[in-house]
């Protein structure tokens, strides 16, 4: 390929990337533009790309009038618990399926993977009945427990552990480590990036989960952010500026978390895919 055609391809690729980025960013920018105008401007018949009057009123109202701080706290607590418990359970299960030899191992792994085939919606009613019988409606336990079983995470960890040379485990066995110690002191540090990647994905999934909190929570005090967003309307209809302000505030912690761990997440996915970074 000569230099001229190579330059042409580069320009085309950069242009396509910029267009795709704008397409992706447009809803975000529009939400920001809406959240920064007075409420009456959001329903004005005259279209403006930018606010005619710049104001943070929507953010102030969202943070003061609604139950936003509480919902943020609930989302943070639930997402954190879901992430921690999912990681702990999935790491243990994946290590057992990958490294331990016991009767019925293949069958159990097959059963765990079968859960892939069941959509969460199909489990809503039995899960709700179970939570109801356990008295966990409107509780953190009720919010967290059904979200902590993740066949995808188990599968990804197992595949990763399968690729770690067995010599590490055997060396640790010779050193006197038990399975839990081997997982904690050897496999977990070796798998650092993929664990971070799965943790972030699980955290974002739990933060954005609407359906299960919608089923299990009826109390305003126990709502998470996605559920709380449905409350940002009053008798006069939807308040768009407040809705967008709440959405931006709700998405902000996740976005910050992703940005903070972006490098580890990318490395983790590269490691899981077998590609080198």
């Amino acid at each position: 390929m000569n230099n001229r055609s190579q330059l042409g391809w580069t320009i085309a690729a950069v242009t396509a990337a910029v267009l795709l980025a704008l397409l992706w960013a447009f809803p975000l920018l529009w939400a920001a533009s809406t959240a920064l105008r007075p409420e009456h401007e959001t329903v004005s018949s005259v279209f403006h790309w930018l606010p005619q009057t710049w104001t943070l009123d929507a953010f102030r109202t969202t943070l003061s009038a609604g139950n936003m701080p509480r919902w943020l706290f609930n989302s943070a607590l639930v997402s954190l618990l879901v992430t921690l418990v999912t990681m702990a359970l999935s790491l243990c299960a994946a290590y057992a399926f990958s490294q331990l030899r016991f009767r019925g191992r293949g069958l159990l792994f097959g059963l765990a993977m079968l859960a892939f085939l069941l959509p969460f919606e199909a489990l809503l009613v039995p899960l709700f009945r179970t939570m109801h019988q356990l008295g966990l409606i409107n509780s953190y336990a009720g919010l967290v427990l059904p979200q902590v079983v993740s066949p995808v995470v188990i599968y990804v960890f197992k595949q990763f552990f399968d690729a770690i040379p067995a010599d590490f485990r055997e060396a640790a066995v010779m050193d006197g480590a038990n399975p839990l110690r081997i997982l904690w002191s050897v496999y977990l540090p070796i798998s650092g990036n993929i664990v971070w990647a799965m943790a972030i994905v699980t955290f974002i999934g739990a933060w954005n989960n609407f359906l299960w909190p919608f089923i299990i929570v009826t109390s305003n005090e126990m709502m998470t952010i996605p559920l709380g967003l449905t409350q940002t309307y009053d008798a006069f209809g939807v308040r768009y500026a407040q809705l967008m302000a709440a959405a931006l505030l709700g998405a902000l912690p996740v976005a910050l978390a992703y940005i903070a761990f972006q490098r580890r997440v990318t490395q983790g996915f590269l490691a899981a895919s077998g590609l080198k970074g």
Binding site: E170, A171, V173, M174, D175, G176, A177, V186, I190
Partner: protein, 379 residues
Amino acid sequence: MASVTLRGIQKQYDNHSVIKGIDLDILDGEFVVFVGPSGCGKSTLLRIIAGLEDISAGTLEIGGRISNEVEPAKRGIAMVFQSYALYPHMSVFENMGFALKLAKVPKSEIEERVRRAAAILQIEHLLDRKPKALSGGQRQRVAIGRAIVRKPEVFLFDEPLSNLDAALRGQTRVELARLHRELKSTMIYVTHDQVEAMTLGQKIVVLNGGRIEQVGTPSDLYERPANRFVAGFLGSPRMNFFEATLTGKAGRSASIALAGGARVQVAADVARAAGAGERVTLGVRPEHLQLVRPGQGDGIGATVALVEYLGDVTLVYAQVEGSEEMVAVKSDADTAPPSLGSRVELVFPATRAFLFDEGGDVFAPAWTENAAEPLARMP
């Protein structure tokens, strides 16, 4: 230090038997090498001693204690893996001290033992580095250091030099021998490399197909192989074999006819042979064969197919007349090699040849290392 005793050790995976009844005594402080071709069961046997594989049948004793069900970490052994298996996220110091930390040894003692082992191996300056910052040879030393700090009664080595280049392998072999002299521990070493086996082992165990073919000192195995497998496995190039038929036996001498028609005599006790007509195999090491011009030696006719000059020696490969077999002849590099395609005759001392029966077992050689060495002649 501890002895290791194996009695009737068997290992099966599903219905496939990989170790088929091993009886072996390894003495206190002995350096024993398990050697054999790929798949012979040598690594499995080592892993059985380590406790990384269960025993299907038989008894394993370490230091006089039956250890079949004892956990690996409580057997008083340490193992150096082929891949070294250094934990990549830990420093050299942490790698070496990990077992002691798990055993809840006080920090000051861990420090002291790690530093002492590092001093023995001259790796004190590497203690803060991660394994990825080490060369292959340095990793190898750390892996040995990790074993040393545990003060084991028995060291197990699973092909520890196979990832090193030739120069480093030679150097590390010398260091391992020194280490054995200094520590005086029992060491069991697995390799498929016969040079490592011959140079390191006080006792060599040759394995094949899950069974022991022969146990002995390096010179025992080289000079007095029990069967054709051992004779062919040790030595480079390997021993030359000629299919033949027994034509007569007189006292401690056997007359045989080679497939190509040549007739030779071998100093071997063939009293147990059935008699003339029995199929046998003649074995002669490359260094005991000589090339002579046709008509000069009444030897085995052959045509030179390849000449390899190795500096100190020259290897000549020749095609034996009347057969597909290629034989190797090792001679001094000073001797002018024959030209390619030239006809030669192969002669050898009757007191340096081995005769094997149809099952591969050797007929006891009727000669000693110091025996006179007349060349084998056609009768």
